[in-house]
Amino acid sequence: MATETREKTPAARSAEEERLIALRKRDTRRRWFWRITGYVAVLGIWELASGWVLEENLLPGPIRIIETFPDLWNSGRFLQSYAATLTRIGIGFACAFGFGALLGVLTQNRWIDGFFKDAVTISLVSPGLIWALTGLVIWGFEPAGWIFAIFMTTFALVTVNVAEGIRALPKDLIDMSRAFGVTTWRRQREIVVPHLAPFLFTAVRFGFSVAWKVTVLTEVFSSNEGIGFEMRVASQLFRMDEFFTWALSFFIFTLILEKLVLQRYENKFFRWRQEVTV
């Protein structure tokens, strides 16, 4: 819509269009007003609650958390912990993604689908804690322990999404490309991959958030570095300001990752269908 109106000269706009634009502007302004009010309200209640409702050491307010951040950063543990945790997530999720995607393709076969059906359901419905504890009690501090935990919690998400994506492939386009003698390689590149991509993106997104939760959990139980380990130490030493700084910093990190990296990449990837969605 926005591009449409820009093409016309201002004089060509009718009064109706003007009214619509003004309405939309007002709507956006109001939305931002309430959004900021929301931030002010929640942060304000939080700031007031620390000290009034709960002790300040137990529930430090947002201001103190922001003040704690430079200390953590300067201590040098910050980047080190992030590197450790992200490496774990990367390795574990890469295994899960590889296997899950392969399984998603293979489950087009009914026999394989039947074989792995319960595995997928179990992985989706069972809590991450049991995989973390099982992996750790078997493999201890070895990487196999946390890889197992991440793998078991995330592979099914990838499988389900890939299988869904394959089911949604445009059969008629593939048939037509075959009838017109398009090469297999080109067919994969220009029909299959673009159609699977949104499903893969959701799989990555969702898988990452689940993987991060279970990774932190494994780090609590058996690790000497990483965000989960730092959170446990902070809470055990009753340094709640540090604890909340760790938790919030990762939330902000994922937000940045989501907005700046994944979404930009996705926009680039889906440029070809922008006209349809707008």
Partner: protein, 310 residues
């Protein structure tokens, strides 16, 4: 498979057909797991890794109360631990459901309310249950309040998001038409609003319960001295692998039973009036990225259950 069906039903092809049916594959799966288990057992360099028999024996003793393990004076066996967890889960779940429905309805009906809450709902959604568990353990001590609050915090965003989408998806034309034909308000609510909200509300219930359960057992590890989560941690601390794996299997059995016996049937009833929910339509809405994630659980699992029926 199609090719075997086409051939004449000789004895050989019939056994092949049985072998090739997805049902057989499904039955074969546990045996494959056992095979992998033995493979790990014979290759791993670990003293505590148990055989399947040992785990089975442990589980049997826990179920028949002959193991002689008494966990604590209050919650001494599996059943009591389980009951405590379930009660906490149910209380937290209903609080989340009521609170989430109110906020979700408000967010669906008003853009301002939506803007007010949206980012904070996403923040709660993105927080690992571990954060709540560690904090609640310190703030509230080892009481029922910590785990119950953990369930509320874990389930709430799912209820809110699903109810909001349900309100947004109500067919406006039907409302207009009902009003034009002077249909009384209670009839509109019953026949238009509720049926179109139903699938979303059902999804909210299902995922609030499942995610609440996951959050609860983590909270029980750090903020409680009883319950199923505490019990599996008990065996972990005792370094008894058979106990941990046995309890992990109890968890899996519970989740599967709940999924197959309760939720799949409820889903059939909730969706009876319309055979298929348009999964893609739900995914293509303009949610934030994290919201999409919340909905995707809904889709992937409903797709999962739809697939199992077919």
């Amino acid at each position: 498979m199609a090719t075997t069906v086409a051939t004449a039903p000789t004895r050989d092809s019939r056994s092949m057909r049985v072998l090739k049916s997805p049902k057989t594959a499904r039955i074969l799966f546990p045996f494959a797991v056992l095979a992998v288990w033995y493979l790990i057992y014979y290759t791993i360099d670990s003293r505590i890794f148990p055989t399947p028999q040992k785990v089975a024996q442990f589980m049997w003793e826990e179920v028949t109360l002959t193991s002689g393990v008494r966990y604590s004076s209050v919650a001494e066996n599996l059943y009591v631990q389980f009951a405590i967890s379930l009660i906490r889960l149910t209380i937290g779940f209903f609080i989340a459901l009521i609170l989430g429905t109110v906020i979700g309805l408000a967010m669906g009906l008003s853009k301002s309310v939506n803007a007010f809450f949206h980012d904070w709902v996403m923040a709660i959604l993105a927080m690992p249950a571990l954060v709540w568990a560690l904090f609640l353990g310190l703030a509230l001590g080892f009481s029922h309040y910590g785990p119950i609050l953990a369930v509320v915090l874990a389930g709430l965003p799912f209820v809110i998001i699903n109810v909001r989408e349900g309100v947004r998806n109500t067919p406006r034309e039907l409302f207009d038409m009902a009003r034009a034909f002077d249909v009384p308000q209670n009839k509109i609510t019953r026949h238009v609003l509720l049926p179109s909200l139903m699938p979303f509300f059902f999804a909210a219930i299902r995922y609030a319960y499942a995610i609440g359960w996951k959050g609860l057992i983590i909270a029980e590890v750090f903020a409680s001295d009883r319950g199923m989560g505490w019990t599996i941690k008990f065996w972990y601390d005792a370094n008894r692998a058979h106990g941990v794996i046995g309890y992990a299997l109890f968890f899996i059995i519970f989740a599967m039973v709940l999924e197959k016996l309760v939720f799949d049937r409820l889903a059939d009833r909730a969706f009876k009036w319309r055979p298929q929910v348009n999964v893609v339509q739900m995914a293509e809405g303009d949610f934030g990225a994290v919201a999409q994630e919340a909905l995707l659980v809904v889709e992937s699992q409903s797709a999962e259950s739809e697939g199992s029926d077919g």
